[in-house]
């Protein structure tokens, strides 16, 4: 990997962030809803007679800078976010800042998302690779067929089925939440196991909905690789099957899967929002859902930007390590 390549990729990353931030700003401002009016209506619909509402609207419009011209709001927004990392105050949870709300929710989302995605990726690709390998029993392909229906199901449907079967009928796992109600968490094994127990069904709903996809695509990639000259050559040289499988076949078949992983992260995250709502999991997904309901511009901007930055960052990392996985990429750049 050359320095030029590295700089260009970093530059692309920042351009993506700036463009995304602009788009998010524009979209939230283009909606016809007025978050301050929404706030008043929420209060009045719950029995309050907010007849002094005009004053409230004035105060809050000024407080959140919504009385400024759009271009001024944009400049302030970009400056705060890019230069100070300040996402502003939440409209609906004032005086909490957007950052504080997101940061509290973030660990739950990161842990659930990263572990589920990793497990699904590793196991899915392994199953796919094994199912294509000539030395493995054809009955192994049963796993692929068994996983296809779950991969075709929407996340929320799968989540409800898992709750019904494993939580209600078999009573093996909790219905929802991140920990046992009233439990006293600590840095100990019981807490860890309790958290794992609560995370199992949400993680399973994500894993089962994507694992079939990884298995199928990996199987296709492996079939392509099986016919390659280097595999034939390795066999002819008398290398052990296991070595050929891991060092030659999987390693080459995995390359497009790594690319797909980066592209698929966005889809997984969108599904995660539904999963968090159904399982009452206290992650970023629920925060976004609430913010959308109440037109909380700043919270929507903050959460969406966080998700975009995360996906862009993950894509950047994968892009940068790609030449490490495939020496040919490095070699091609050097010859230019």
């Amino acid at each position: 990997m050359t320095l030029n390549y590295f700089i260009r990729r970093i530059g692309t990353f920042f351009m993506t962030i700036i463009l995304a931030a602009t788009l998010v700003f524009a979209i939230t401002r283009l909606t016809p809803t007025d978050p301050i009016q929404t706030l008043l209506a929420t209060m009045s619909s719950r029995g309050r007679m907010v007849e002094g509402g005009e004053k409230l609207v004035e105060v809050y419009t000024e407080r959140f800078g919504l009385d400024q011209p759009l271009h001024v709001q944009y400049i302030n927004y970009m400056e705060d976010m890019l230069l100070h990392g300040n996402l502003g105050y939440s409209l609906s949870y004032f005086p909490s800042t957007v950052s504080s709300v997101i940061l509290r929710s973030l660990p739950w989302t990161i842990i659930l998302l990263s572990i589920s995605t990793l497990i699904a990726f590793v196991i899915g690709n392994l199953l796919g690779a094994l199912s294509a390998w000539p030395r493995v029993s054809k009955r192994f392909q049963f796993f692929i067929y068994a996983l296809m229906p779950t991969s075709a199901m929407p996340y929320y449907l799968l989540a409800l089925i898992l709750i019904y079967v494993f939580a209600i009928t078999l009573n093996l796992f909790p219905v929802g939440g991140a920990q046992t109600v009233g439990s006293i968490p600590g840095f100990d094994l019981p807490t860890l196991l309790d958290r794992l127990k609560h995370a199992t069904l949400p993680a399973l709903s994500i894993i089962l909905s994507v694992i079939g996809f990884w298995a199928l695509t990996m199987r296709a990639a492996m079939i392509m690789v099986l016919g390659e000259d280097y595999v034939v050559y390795a066999r002819a040289k008398g290398l052990k099957e296991g070595r050929i499988f891991t060092r030659y076949a999987i390693r080459n078949a995995m390359l497009p899967q790594v690319t797909t992983l980066a592209l698929d992260l966005g889809r997984v995250i969108s599904g995660l929002v539904l999963v968090e709502i159904i399982f009452s999991y206290p992650g970023v997904g629920w925060v976004l859902y609430s913010a959308l309901k109440f037109s909380d511009y700043f919270m929507i901007q903050g959460v969406v930007m966080f998700l975009i930055v995360s996906v862009a960052f993950a894509t950047l990392i994968l892009d940068l390590i790609y030449p490490l996985l495939d020496p040919r990429i490095r070699y091609q750049k050097a010859t230019l």
Binding site: G176, I278, P282, W286
Partner: protein, 608 residues
């Protein structure tokens, strides 16, 4: 890669899953203190000191009540400032930490004294003197006095942008502490409902009095009112906060609760209360079935009956259908009279005659409610008004498509080739309607109404929308009508006042008061409303004026009542009995997210 290795992997994965599934909860409500050793606060004096802030004492499940937090997650777990607009501290602060001067019992129509004992107005309702109860103390032992009330009200008046700032600035000329237990308000005008509206929990909201010694010197716009080390939030209620996270809020009983000390009320038996984030209706039902919840949010009839087959300890207000209790917000269709064609009174009545309320009750409500006409719930305080105007009610509740057609033809409309009403210029009577997502009954009822209107020739459309969009469209007048309305609970003046012309705005301009966004204006009605608002309901002449105003209002029909709103709130008697029911009707409303909860808790008895 051989079979043995694969088999080992599979075995290891299954073993891990089984170990995790079989793992029991960490130190929690059930393990540490054996139930037979648990001391009831009624049995013996509790000698132990509460644990340091941030640590939880172990309390058995049998002494804990677990509530469904109706707003889901707590996005501000370290903020207990009840004056930030939109910040509803329904995770226990409203219910068991703060208390009101009075509580309106919706069923009797009476204001029940609590932190205050009584009040009296002067002759023209421009002054009110409130007598506070002696012996009330804050949770840190400081006496509750008139200074706290004065401080709270002045804080609202002096600070723009707080929850009650507008109302206190509008109505309070001055407030003074006559002595430690007497407060005198001087109002800016005649307001016979001042105490009811702001200190009586009229529907579910109230201006809570806060401790001056805590809030003085703080910026009320940003003060979090949270510090576990100092015991904040401080309140007069029977519980103190011991833990607050996004998903759980935990409150423990205070044995020094003032009401039990002076013999005014029972010390509640539950030693711990937990508000949890539940999520969806399915999760709620599952948790109730598994006894992981003692009080849930709303359920539909089908879900409730199904739940009872899973757990026969689940009860609600009534054992038999219609099961639910009457919520203050009866379901009504409010029309935007500035919308094309809806300025014609005959068109509005034609719409009303096209609505088959029985069909809505049968389909959307599974038969467990009843029709209503005035947009109000049939509470005791409103019964006389309903009884006197039964003929008007009967007129509104008529379902008569033929009459609807007759009115439209008489108003100059004809049907086009598709069977829709058009005016003389060929413009259809277009009726985009909306309601909000979140309440399942209105989500189901609105499509039925839309279909009924289309069946008789109105080009109705629409559906449930997210709250922000729903309120915005109402505010800007971007819809012909919406389904939902919250009006009076004990006298008709409040409902009628929402149709005063001061709330009307031309189409395209935001309505100054979104709850009254019908844009209806009638000077004759305005005059009557102005008189009613300035009168107490028990004054001579009030009923006659109210009836006169009602006749004008109903004749113009900017609002058509649809059904009463019966909420089925599930309570679980596995661990606690004594929940309010028709047979045990000691408080109304009985929703656990209302500020009356601490009264309910005083009646709960352990079931085990």
């Amino acid at each position: 890669m051989n079979r043995k290795f694969l088999g080992f992997l599979l075995f290891f994965a299954v073993l891990t899953l089984v170990l995790v599934a079989c793992q029991t909860a960490p130190i929690s409500t059930e393990d540490v203190v054996p139930t037979e050793e648990a001391a009831s606060p009624a049995d013996e004096e509790i000698a132990e000191e509460p644990p340091p802030a941030g640590e939880l004492a172990s309390v058995p499940r049998e002494e804990t009540v677990i509530f469904d937090h109706v707003f889901g997650r707590v996005s501000l777990p370290e903020n207990f400032n009840p004056f930030i607009p939109g910040h509803y501290t329904l995770n226990g602060q409203w219910q068991v930490n703060l208390e009101s001067l009075f509580y309106l019992n919706l069923e009797t129509g009476e204001l029940e004294p609590w932190l205050a004992e009584s009040f009296e107005y002067n002759d023209d309702y421009t002054e009110v003197t409130v007598h506070l109860r002696e012996g009330v103390e804050w949770s840190d032992g400081v006496p509750f006095t008139a200074d706290d009330v004065v401080f709270t009200v002045n804080m609202m008046r002096d600070t723009d942008g707080l929850y009650w700032s507008g109302e206190m600035q509008q109505w309070v000329e001055s407030v003074e502490a006559v002595d430690d237990h007497t407060v005198k308000f001087t109002l800016t005008g005649t307001h016979p409902r001042f105490m009811l509206d702001y200190f009586g929990v009229r529907a579910w909201d109230v201006l809570f009095v806060i401790p001056k010694h805590i809030w003085e010197g703080q910026d009320p716009s940003t003060f979090s009112n949270y510090d576990m080390e100092k015991g904040w939030p401080v309140g007069t209620g029977p519980y103190r906060l011991v833990r607050s996270t996004e998903t759980e809020t935990v409150w423990d009983l205070r044995d020094d609760y003032w009401a039990s000390q002076i013999g005014f009320a029972n010390l509640p038996k539950p030693r711990r209360l937990i508000w949890v984030f539940v999520g969806t209706e399915e999760t709620r039902a599952a948790m109730l079935a598994r006894n992981e919840l003692d009080a849930g949010f709303l359920l539909g009839r089908g879900a409730f009956e199904r739940l009872q087959t899973e757990n026969n300890n689940i009860i609600t207000w009534s054992e038999e259908p219609p099961y639910g209790y009457l919520d203050p917000c009866a379901r009504s269709l409010v029309l935007n009279v500035a919308w094309p064609h809806l300025g014609d009174r005959d068109v509005r009545w034609a719409i009303n005659y096209a609505i088959n309320r029985d069909q809505i009750i049968e389909i959307a409500y599974e038969g467990i409610t009843e029709a209503q006409a005035f947009g109000t719930t049939l509470y005791k305080g409103l019964e006389p008004w309903h009884d006197r105007n039964q003929d008007l009610i009967d007129d509104v509740l008529v379902f008569n498509p033929a009459k609807s057609e007759e009115l439209m033809i008489g108003a100059g409309f004809a049907k086009d080739n598709d069977g829709f009403w058009v005016d003389e210029e060929g413009q259809r009577v277009d009726l985009p309607l909306t309601t909000h997502l979140g309440d399942a009954d209105v989500e189901k009822a609105l499509p039925i109404i839309i279909q009924q209107l289309r069946d008789v020739g109105f080009d109705a459309s629409g559906g449930a929308q997210e709250w922000a969009i729903y309120t915005d469209r109402r505010s800007r007048g971007d819809v012909a009508g919406w389904l939902n309305f919250c009006g009076s609970v004990n006298d008709p003046a409040k409902t009628l006042s929402l149709f005063h012309s001061r709330h009307a705005a031309p189409l395209g301009e935001p309505s100054p008061f979104v709850a009254a966004a019908s844009r209806y204006a009638n000077p004759e009605l305005d005059e009557l409303i102005d008189q009613l608002i300035a009168m107490s309901p028990d004054e001579p002449g009030f009923d006659e004026l109210a009836d006169e105003a009602t006749e004008i209002w109903i004749n113009d029909l900017p609002l058509m009542g649809i059904v009463q709103n019966r909420f089925i709130i599930p309570y679980n008697t596995t661990y606690w009995t004594g929940w309010p029911t028709t047979d045990n009707n000691y408080i109304y409303p009985l929703a656990h997210w209302f500020p009356i909860l601490h009264i309910v808790l005083g009646h709960l008895e352990p079931a085990q």
